[in-house]
């Protein structure tokens, strides 16, 4: 990938006697759409506020193009923010809100007008210049907030759960549009969300966080298919998480049965956790599988059925489009690639 634009090195943050960030190391690259994903209170917003300059890190370094900016005030950083509740100035109209940054820089009025209308066009609000921002819908306010930030031509745009207040349909639309805008302006977007689907569908890189610690950094596909630990597997998508042990490379044992797999690099007989995604498990005739059980329940979910199969050791969750009656004896089948072996979490 291209050049690093922001580097976090051993960043910590304490509020009173509570440590909300416990040593964050993260590289953010140019033109990257990076998402900080995690449950509320995991520290993702704090990272964003430190990058924006609203909070100072307690320890560690924040490098921007290789220079430490942790003491630089927000108004001197080439970074702009789209706030969670948009924070538009209620006493200014759409044009003046968007032009706020350029007015401060004493840019020529005709240049400002030109840039404002170009920005409004980019976010799909052409001709809205004279409108009162307090009378706009949530989605429109959101777009004004994006235009107001982007007009300053920042190197990095920070977005703090910007889609949280929108309804489901508008949210989908804005996800698509944000991605489009990011491609068009070609700058780094750092996006904060607790919505895993949002993170997976928009990002180049997803950073999964919990309790002030980064759990995993990777592409959406990697994060989903190769979760590094139980938290990531559990937080992103549905999963069956099974304790087992690694007999040797490419051979794992769980539920008392040995399975061939594709994972390597564990110690012999190391205790591990195995992830089986519900949609990766097939229901077959009992005699065609090593793992047997009976259907305990079936729930219709729209696209698929969610079936719980009770085996000797545990219940498995399976997503399938086929109907199976409760009480039926079945076998569970999955390929070598469907088994994802993870290191066991310490606690």
């Amino acid at each position: 990938m291209s050049n690093k634009i922001i580097e976090l090195k051993g960043l910590t943050k304490n509020f009173d006697d509570q440590q909300v960030l416990k040593g964050i190391d993260l590289n953010i690259y140019e033109n990257e759409f990076l998402t900080l994903l995690g449950p509320s209170g995991c520290g993702k917003t704090t990272i964003l506020r430190i990058i924006a300059g609203f909070e100072e890190p307690s320890n560690g370094e924040l490098l921007f193009n290789g220079i430490d900016i942790s003491k630089v005030p927000p108004y001197k950083r080439e970074i702009n923010t789209v706030f969670q509740k948009y924070a538009l100035f209620p006493f200014l109209n759409v044009h003046d809100n968007v032009a706020f940054g350029l007015n401060l820089k004493k840019v020529d009025k005709s240049v400002i007008d030109q840039k404002v209308s170009r920005m409004l066009k980019l976010v799909g609000l052409e001709g809205f210049e004279k409108r009162d921002v307090t009378l706009l819908s949530g989605g429109q306010q959101q777009r004004v907030a994006i235009a107001r930030a982007l007009i300053n031509e920042p190197k990095v745009l920070l977005l703090d759960e910007p889609l949280g207040a929108l309804d489901a349909k508008l949210r989908k639309e804005m996800q698509f549009e944000l991605k489009k805008i990011q491609k068009e302006v070609g700058i780094t977007f750092i996006f904060v969300t607790h919505d895993q689907e949002e993170a997976l569908s928009m990002s180049d890189t997803v950073v999964v966080m919990n309790n002030g610690i980064i759990q995993q950094i990777g592409s959406p596909v990697d994060i989903y298919n190769e979760p590094e630990n139980r938290f990531v597997a559990d937080f992103i998508g549905d999963s069956n998480i099974i304790e087992g042990n690694m007999i040797r490379d490419c051979l794992v044992c769980f539920d008392g049965i040995e399975f061939e797999c594709v994972d390597k690099g564990f110690k012999e007989n190391e205790e591990v956790e195995v992830v089986l995604r519900p949609e990766d498990i097939d229901i077959v005739e009992p005699d065609k599988s090593k793992l047997k059980g009976t259907v305990a329940s079936i729930v219709f979910k729209g696209v698929h059925y969610e079936i719980i199969v009770r085996t000797a050791r545990r219940d498995y969750k399976i997503h399938t489009t086929d109907y199976h009656e409760v009480g039926k004896d079945v076998g569970l089948s999955f390929t070598d690639e469907d088994i994802h072996v993870m290191y066991k979490m310490e606690n």
Binding site: Y75, Q84, F89, F91, G101, L104, D132
Partner: protein
């Protein structure tokens, strides 16, 4: 809500007797002659004409000047104080606002007498000055003493509305201004002050109104020769006994204040549909 409607009636009667009727009487008095005798009234414009005699006009001008000075002083001190208070935690803010309002719990006369004992020729300040080997300064019965008294008395009326509008301000707007490149000074002028204008307008109207119509403080701190509109009205009703002239002055003052309020409200963005 409907069943509570009848509860409003006593209040309507009450306000009719105590507000509407007296107001009507003042209007009536101001355009008639004949003092308190309502039997043989005669309509006249003489009362209003009399106000424009230089003696009385000077009182008006002096009062407005004093009211203006007091209001500006209250605005500057009050804004700084309100801004300072709004920086604290919510708990501390409550205590500080309480401290600002505590003087209002004490009788105004008492507060004014306290100023007399501070400012008088052999008062506390002059005693201190003498102790330091400086010449005593005569402060009582001047514009200075009246302005000091009025400013201190009316300061809470400025601090509270400004503090309210500062305290309810969305902090993310300030962060947004920083984020867009405004330094703290520009953020204050372009965002914080703009958002506090409703409080400033309300405080200014209240202080101006109260200062221009006050009569106890000018009387006590300004001495007998110090005549403001309030004193003039009081004099007409209590000592001179010309209720008609007194009513005319009151009416003119009320109209002047109404006009000023209208002008001030024009500045308030909320009153102009957010434009």
């Amino acid at each position: 809500m409907k069943q509570f409607k009848n509860l409003v009636r006593p209040y309507i009667i009450w306000s009719f007797v105590l507000i509407v009727v007296p107001l009507f009487l003042i209007v009536l008095y101001s355009v008639t002659t004949g003092g308190n005798s309502l039997v043989n009234i005669q309509f006249t414009g003489e009362n209003f004409k009399k106000i424009f005699e230089p003696v009385y006009m000077n009182v008006f001008i002096r009062s407005f000047k004093l009211g203006l000075i007091t209001t500006v002083l209250c605005l500057v001190i009050g804004y700084l104080l309100a801004y300072f208070i709004s920086r604290f935690s919510e708990k501390a803010q409550n205590i500080l606002i309480l401290a600002v309002t505590i003087p209002m719990w004490i009788n105004m006369l008492l507060r004014t007498y306290a100023w007399i004992s501070l400012l008088s020729d052999n008062g506390i300040i002059n005693s201190l000055l003498t102790l330091l080997g400086l010449d005593p300064v005569s402060m009582m019965y001047t514009d200075f003493s009246v302005i000091v008294g009025l400013t201190c008395d009316l300061l809470p009326f400025m601090v509270i509305p400004i503090h309210t509008s500062l305290a309810k301000m969305d902090h993310s707007l300030i962060e947004a201004a920083y984020d867009l490149g405004a330094n703290p000074f520009k953020t204050f002028w372009r965002v914080v002050f703009k958002l506090s204008i409703p409080g400033v307008v309300n405080g200014t109207i209240m202080v101006f109104l109260l200062s221009i119509s006050s009569f106890v403080i000018p009387k006590l701190l300004g001495g007998g020769q110090y005549v403001l509109i309030g004193n003039l009205i009081e004099e007409q009703f209590i000592s001179v006994g010309d209720w008609n002239f007194g009513s005319a002055i009151s009416l003119l003052l009320a109209v002047a204040i109404l006009i000023m309020i209208r002008i001030m409200k024009k500045i308030d963005p909320d009153e102009n549909g957010g434009a």
